[in-house]
């Protein structure tokens, strides 16, 4: 993974000193609350329901074991003993004291981490594929390009006060988008052109929130060296023309829609023409410098699918089930990428205690060259596990509660912190997730249902990505009471054309009704599916109607009311 140079370390240290001074001036009254707000947000610090929340960046999801241990120490020392992995490859601490945050940032800087630009109206943490560098289906390792752009976007002087937040993602796989790239303000699909050169198809104007939009392709075949200058051009257009009169209409998606995709793309192209091949253009030497840190770890020469693994699969059904669900193919023979599920009954999705963080560090050191990745589905990946050690990993992970074989299944839910923690939320989300986990705890049934994504957001800001869940659940406020709206059909496809936003099925439900509604939807799916057909495929074949009439057998007028 990328290792800070003296330059990087100095910049991060100076950032901590800057924030320490800002907090001191705020304490002394020299800075008002309103003046501090954007400054603290750009250091990841929100004021939340109970206490300030600190969001720490995990750039494109990569963590080293000593960083995990530092996060565990932070959880113990300055928080209440746990952290929450978010849907954007960040980790959040929910119980911070503003005065102590500079010390926390110092502790992060000591392990080459930071909370820079994890909030605020600026370029946010850049996310990517958790299987980057090991996936057999990727065209190119996206991580050096992510790091190139992380550095470019850090403290960018022109784009620190954009109309609204700006999220960037990279994907480098033609068959599956594991970064939800089309749902970002700006996304890059990296690929190789006919000559083998790395180019990007650029998608812009995607986003969740109250106006969910799948992004549109604004440029194809952009040579990688133009990533910084093209982004500068696009951000300049957004910075100048994005709406600032209404925060709900300030994301770039609204500008793209207002201008039209081709007119927006033409504006960006016109700006880019002034910057193309200028001094901001990235160089081969710089990519090589960054890329050297992403060289493969010292893999051993191993036999692919060794006999011992086959025997373990054949003789231990529990292991076989876990293997079938959580182990992915690797580009190097004899290795596999393993997802450890952070979703199990009794634990809020994405939450990890300090003990779990330490245990993950230990597992990473023992099995995966000391590195680990976090996913936007709020799980963690050990990307480089020798196949003959998978059984040992499973044995070690099980008592830690990290071996639930529910990856991609119903209970592998994405869920925001919701009304239990978040000041923005209309409704709680974690208790809904718990109720669903409790009701659907039969692994045989879950495996029979197969792949299905269920995403829960406590409000329309959509941090739980409900818009793109096959089943989406959204907390809404009805006259002061918490209700839940259900959407069906959301899906992240390999490109914008195959990505869809779920449709609302009808009136919202009380919390207690939600598990039964989910059960009804699943019953209809089981009744209507063709052999081997996934939930999302059955849904697209039969449409919403059979699901609606099962969920709302008698109350059609109520349904119309919310249509």
């Amino acid at each position: 993974m990328y290792r800070y140079t003296d330059f990087d370390q100095r910049m991060v240290n100076e950032r901590v000193a800057q924030f320490r001074d800002q907090v001191a001036r705020w304490k002394s009254g020299a800075l008002s609350d309103d003046e501090l707000r954007p400054l603290r947000l750009q250091n990841g610090l929100y004021v939340q329901r109970h206490a300030p929340m600190l969001r720490v960046a995990i750039p494109y999801g990569l963590l080293a074991s000593q960083q995990l241990r530092a996060l565990a120490r932070i959880a113990r020392t300055w928080d209440r003993g746990y952290g929450h992995f978010s849907t954007r490859q960040n980790i959040q601490f929910n119980w911070m004291k503003i005065e102590e945050v500079p010390d926390v940032l110092d502790a992060l800087a000591a392990v080459q981490m930071h909370a820079i630009q994890t909030s605020g109206n600026c370029v946010r943490n850049i996310t990517s594929d958790p299987f980057a560098g090991v996936a057999p289906d990727e065209a190119v390792d996206p991580r050096p390009y992510c790091e190139l752009m992380r550095q470019w976007s850090t403290f960018h002087p022109e784009f620190s006060f954009l109309p609204r937040k700006f999220k960037v993602a990279f994907s480098a796989c033609a068959t599956e988008d594991r970064a939800a790239t089309a749902m970002h303000d700006l996304g890059f699909y990296l690929r190789r052109d006919a000559s083998g050169a790395v180019v990007a198809d650029v998608v812009a104007g995607g986003g969740m929130g109250r106006t969910p939009v799948v992004g549109s392709i604004v440029r194809t075949g952009l040579a990688w060296r133009h990533l910084p200058t093209y982004t500068e051009a696009l951000l300049r257009v957004y910075n100048r023309y994005g709406r600032r009169d209404n925060m709900y209409k300030a994301r770039i998606k609204i500008l793209v829609r207002a201008l039209g995709v081709s007119a927006f793309a033409a504006e960006v192209d016109e700006e880019f023409a002034f910057l193309e091949n200028g001094p901001g253009t990235a160089t081969d030497a710089e990519l090589a410098r960054i890329g050297a840190d992403f060289a493969p770890p010292p893999y051993r020469i191993l036999e692919a699918e060794p006999a011992v693994l086959k025997e373990q699969i054949a003789t231990d059904p529990g292991f076989a089930r876990w293997y079938g669900r959580t182990v992915r193919k690797h580009r190097v023979a004899g290795y596999a990428a393993v997802t450890l599920s952070l979703k199990r009954s009794g634990i809020a999705p994405g939450d990890a205690s300090a003990a779990t963080l330490d245990a993950l560090a230990q597992l990473a050191e023992r099995f995966s060259f000391g590195e680990l990745r976090v996913t936007h589905e709020q799980n963690v990946v050990l990307a480089d596990v020798a196949e003959h050690e998978l059984y040992d990993l499973w044995t070690a992970a099980r008592p830690l509660g990290l071996a639930t074989p529910n990856l991609g299944l119903l209970t592998d839910m994405i869920c925001c912190p919701g009304g239990d923690f978040c000041a923005l939320a209309n409704a709680k989300s974690i208790p809904i997730a718990q109720a669903i986990q409790d009701r659907f705890d039969d692994l045989d049934y879950l495996h029979d249902l197969g792949e299905i994504s269920l995403n829960i957001s406590g409000c329309i800001n959509s941090c739980g990505h409900h818009h793109v869940g096959n089943i989406g659940i959204l907390g809404v406020d009805k006259q002061g009471a918490e209700f839940y709206q259900v959407t069906l059909g959301g899906v992240i496809g390999p490109d914008p054309a195959r990505t869809a936003i779920g449709g609302v099925i009808g009136r919202a439900f009380a919390a207690a009704e939600v598990p039964a509604v989910v059960a009804t939807i699943l019953d209809i799916y089981v009744a209507l599916r063709d052999p081997g057909e996934r939930f999302i495929d059955t849904l697209s074949r039969v449409g919403l109607a059979p699901f609606k009439s099962a969920v709302y057998p008698i109350d059609q007028p109520a349904e119309l009311e919310n249509a």
């Binding site: 330059f7 109206n121 403290f155 960018h156 006060f161 109309p163 910084p228």
Partner: protein, 171 residues
């Protein structure tokens, strides 16, 4: 807007406190054609000949003003101001970049309005060389902001080159 205030100005790249004698003009009624006035772009465009005849003048741009429309005045003005009605309105940063790079303005470029200590570092980087701090703030105390960072991650107006083209990146 305030007149005659102390402000921060870069002299040979070093920020210094100077006494300012420019008068900020908000509307046509406030200007008698005398020199030393900084006029809103729209007013200047409406009275082009008067501006050119007035001697030492400047113009200032609101966030939505297109900097290209100021280019016709470059030969006859001594200062361009960019107004920040709120410090969180970042349009003025792009205005400054365009004035300095696309349109080639080399004269004084002043940040006006809600200009605060914590924005000075970035304002300097996008090409501002004078800074009229909000009237209730002490410009002397704000000077430390210019030393916040020892280097930068990307080119802008100042410095124009990213670190990897300047040899700043220690391997």
């Amino acid at each position: 807007m305030h007149d005659g205030a102390r402000l921060i100005r870069l002299m040979d790249g070093v920020p210094r406190i100077v006494q300012d004698d420019w008068r900020m003009i908000d509307s046509a009624a406030d200007w008698d054609g005398s020199p030393g006035a900084v006029l809103p772009l729209e007013l200047a465009l409406a009275q082009t000949e008067r501006v050119r005849a007035a001697g030492r003048t400047g113009i200032w741009l609101a966030p939505a003003d297109d900097p290209a429309r100021a280019a016709g005045f470059f030969g006859s003005i001594a200062l361009i101001g960019v107004h920040f009605p709120k410090f969180t309105d970042g349009r003025g940063y792009s205005t400054a970049v365009l004035l300095r790079t696309r349109h080639g303005w080399r004269g004084e470029l002043r940040a006006l309005g809600e200009v605060l200590q914590d924005q000075l570092y970035a304002l300097r980087r996008v090409g501002f060389d004078s800074f009229a701090l909000r009237a209730d703030r002490d410009p002397v105390a704000a000077l430390q902001a210019f030393a916040t960072f020892s280097d930068v991650y990307q080119g802008s107006v100042e410095p124009p080159l990213p670190p990897f083209r300047r040899g700043s990146v220690a391997a």
